[in-house]
């Protein structure tokens, strides 16, 4: 059931490439089934039904209904309580996912530093020794290489204005705030090459700073790391 809900609208969504992508889709689809498929359709049907049913007909006057009386007000009160129950379900689902994705960070296998600046993304990979801020780090611009199945922590910071790391296939969005280092996590589960966008307006180049996330199998990742280790990536942005 949960699986079916999580996948019910995947035709209208980008592919799910991170471990919590399906959880976020689950919340989206749950809201869709409860609020749109049930409530919205019901209310619009009643609404249009009333218009058609009570159109002006000669000789038929309108009724005098104050709506203050108890039995009249029942029509408003009952949907009211059902809505509250639905809201409780939705809030529980939303907070559960929010807690897992944003609040609680699992133990990382590796850490990546992501630096946003006016109109480019630059990434610092931990390099073969697996630790960040060592001299064997691999700094790249616009290309983030990740290994499938590894839990990553990202340290997101901005050089100048507000940016926002948005990886649609991970269903991930996190604003980069100058003056803060924001930590989050993701865990790729499929291979492939996907877009990274900036989701917070950052000046003229906001729409012109695309980057790519390349999800590789452990072997490809090791090969890339070996290859990239020798020749430093062009024009690397050095984190302080």
């Amino acid at each position: 059931m949960m699986e079916w809900i999580a996948r019910s609208l995947d035709r209208f969504m980008p592919p799910a490439a991170s471990s919590y992508a399906l959880d976020i889709d689950f919340v989206f689809n749950l809201v869709f089934w409860i609020v749109i498929a049930f409530w919205f359709v019901l209310v619009q049907a009643i609404f249009i039904g009333l218009i058609v049913r009570f159109r002006k007909r000669d000789g038929v006057g309108a009724q005098y209904i104050t709506g203050e009386l108890k039995h009249e007000h029942r029509f408003i009160a009952w949907p009211h309580y059902v809505i509250m129950i639905c809201d409780v379900i939705l809030v529980a689902a939303a907070i559960r996912v929010w807690y897992n994705v944003k609040q609680q960070l699992p133990e990382p296998d590796a850490t990546v530093r992501i630096i946003a600046q006016q109109w480019a993304w630059s990434f610092v990979h931990p390099g073969p020794d697996g630790k960040l801020d060592t001299d064997d780090d691999i700094k790249t611009v616009d290309d983030l290489h990740l290994e499938v199945g590894k839990t990553y922590h990202y340290l997101l910071e901005s050089r100048d204005v507000l940016h926002s790391l948005s990886i649609p296939v991970f269903r991930l969005k996190q604003d980069a705030i100058p003056g803060r280092v924001v930590t989050g996590w993701f865990k790729p589960i499929t291979t492939g090459e996907h877009d990274i966008q900036c989701a917070e307006i950052c000046g003229i180049g906001h729409g012109l700073m695309p980057a790519r996330v390349i999800l590789e199998t452990p072997e490809q990742h090791a090969a890339w790391m070996a290859g990239a280790g020798t020749s430093p990536a062009p024009g690397t942005a050095t984190g302080e």
Binding site: L50, I177, P210
Partner: protein, 566 residues
């Protein structure tokens, strides 16, 4: 009860033969000030509508030479979207819905001859006009208009070397601050008039819902705009004096501005929603000849929604780096606030039960308001749920959601109000068939624009991105097709707008003269002449009952105006 005595008529001292300029431009009559606000608002709506045409063309056909604008460069694109948003909210929705309808309806509907402070009323329009001029001037400064989104987030807006519009950003902020001052002055005038100048016999529960809604909207605006005025002063100092309120490198904090802005931002959307709800209530009850279902519930939910709107603002900032634990509080509050609004919608729909509905143009607009706003409301639940917002924030899903709430408010609400009160405002009837053609063209066109944009938003299209071809996953044929369909629907909708202008002008010149009460409505403005003279009535009316006594049992007529003694 106050002793019932007829106040002396407003002494009709002979107006010295006023020059055209003094009579119209410097008038203190609430009706003329209404028209000033409305024409300014509608002129700016044409400007903002043109902006949306230009950037929609750029969205559908990137890099193309847009007829009427030429090539859209990235900074022009940012300027277009920023000012489209800001103009539509601050210089179209608020002046037309709150200031124009507020000025016209409040005195007439509560049986007063004018606002309590006519000169302050005129001053508020003049400051508003000045703010519009300052905004338009910001387009022609060196570097062009401000391009940092209507939310004016620092540090982008604070430093010219980031936003490359040194003059544009400061003038934009000054224009917004001036507009706030104009609406503070106007708001105090509206609230004091509605509270203090009601006709004898009009208790708090005899006030028509549209007056209540505009007054509650003014109170919400006044209570929420304060911190943003303080924030605007701090941001102007950051821009001009290089102080460091929002500069993270020197001890400031950009998140403080986001909180200051959205503490104002969310009550602001309810400020523009409530008057449109009021207009819809008036039209629905009149055209279905039905008493408003549960008047007290509508009133209490409006006040409830207003108060709750001060507790939800950070749902705009879920992923903006606020403390994740705070997001849980705001998710819960956002879903709680959806309850009173849903109840209000149920009450409006319940009002139609047992009615005899005439589907003329005003009623079509009012019903389409409910239909469209329901879509806007339900899609808000996706964004209020913090779990889903991680993905949906700043996508076209958000954009389609708030257009499904703003469009019914600003466009459908305005057309509904104007088509309903046009006979009273001008003394001429509007052509109903032309009205319906214009209605269906606009309604279908609007849905054609934003239903596809919901889907592009789910597929990962992000807002404010100048050219989607830079992102391979957003350049797929389906997304391209949806964007082109949206732009074509916009052109389809824009093609229908001249019909409305033609209808207004021809009705003004050669329309059928309108009787005092063309829709057989109960409220007091329909007891004055059309158009009402200065001072509205020879003797101010006295009120005996509520505004919605339609089809009361054992009465010959199916309406019972408020000022008819028995």
């Amino acid at each position: 009860m106050a002793t019932q005595h007829v106040e002396p008529a407003h002494e009709h001292h002979a107006h010295p033969q006023e020059s055209w300029f003094r009579h119209y431009m410097l008038s203190t009559d609430h009706k003329i000030i209404c028209f000033q606000y409305m024409f300014t608002g509608m002129a700016l709506a044409v400007v903002a509508g043109f902006f949306s045409y230009v950037f929609r063309m750029q969205m559908a056909f990137p890099g193309m030479h847009v007829p009427g604008w030429g090539l859209v460069t990235p900074n022009e694109y940012n300027m277009l979207i920023t000012n489209h948003g800001a103009i539509m909210i601050f210089w179209v929705a608020m002046p037309v819905l709150i200031a124009a309808f507020g000025n016209y309806l409040i005195p007439l509907m509560i049986g007063a001859d004018d606002m309590v402070f006519p000169k302050v009323n005129r001053l508020s329009y003049q400051i508003f006009l000045l703010s519009a001029i300052v905004l338009i001037a910001s387009f022609f400064t060196q570097g062009g208009g401000f391009g940092g989104a209507w939310t004016i987030y620092p540090p982008l807006s604070a430093k010219p070397e980031y936003n490359l519009t040194p003059w544009g950003s400061s003038l934009f902020l000054v224009a917004v601050a001036l507009e706030f001052i104009a609406f503070l002055l106007g708001g105090i005038n509206f609230i004091t008039t509605a509270m203090n100048s009601r006709a004898p016999g009009m208790s708090y529960h005899h006030i028509p819902i549209v007056v209540w809604m505009i007054v509650i909207a003014s109170m919400l605006f006044m209570a929420s705009v304060g911190p943003l005025i303080a924030g605007a002063i701090m941001l102007v100092f950051d821009q001009t004096l290089h102080t460091a309120f929002f500069d993270p490198n020197r001890g400031g904090d950009p998140i403080l501005w986001q909180h200051l802005f959205w503490f104002f931002g969310h009550p602001e959307v309810y400020v523009v929603l409530l008057p449109a709800l009021g207009i819809t209530a008036e039209i629905i009850t009149t055209m279905s000849r039905k008493k408003l279902f549960a008047y007290k519930t509508v009133l209490n939910t409006a006040i409830g929604t207003g108060v709750l709107s001060f507790t939800v603002w950070a749902h705009h900032q879920f992923v903006a780096g606020i403390d994740p634990r705070m997001a849980n509080i705001f998710t819960v509050m956002t879903l709680i606030i959806s309850i009173p609004i849903a109840e209000m919608m149920f009450v409006y729909i319940a009002t139609l039960y047992g009615g005899s509905i005439t589907l003329n143009t005003p009623m079509l607009w009012a019903l389409s308001f409910i239909f469209t706003f329901l879509i806007g409301g339900v899609t808000g639940i996706f964004l209020g749920a913090s779990g889903a917002d991680i993905y949906l924030h700043d996508t076209y899903f958000v954009l389609a959601h708030f257009h499904y709430t703003f469009f019914p408010i600003a466009i459908i609400g305005t057309f509904a109000g104007v088509s309903f009160w046009f006979p009273k405002m001008s003394g001429k009837m509007m052509n109903d068939t032309l009205g319906k053609i214009h209605f269906w063209g606009t309604f279908l066109g609007f849905n054609g624009i934003f239903i596809p944009l919901f889907i592009t938003g789910m597929l990962g299209d992000h807002r404010r991105i100048f050219d989607h071809n830079f992102f391979p996953e957003l350049a797929t044929p389906t997304l391209k097709g949806l964007r082109e369909f949206a732009t074509l629907s916009l052109l389809f909708m824009l093609a229908f707008q001249p019909i409305w202008f033609y209808n207004v002008i021809t009705s003004l010149l050669w329309g059928k003269p309108a009787p005092k009460n063309p829709w057989n409505s109960n409220t007091l403005e329909w007891t004055a002449d059309s158009p009402p003279p200065h001072g509205n009535w020879p003797t101010l009316p006295i009120v005996y009952r509520g505004p919605y006594e339609y089809s009361t049992p054992n009465r010959s007529e199916d309406y019972w105006p408020q000022n008819v003694p028995s």
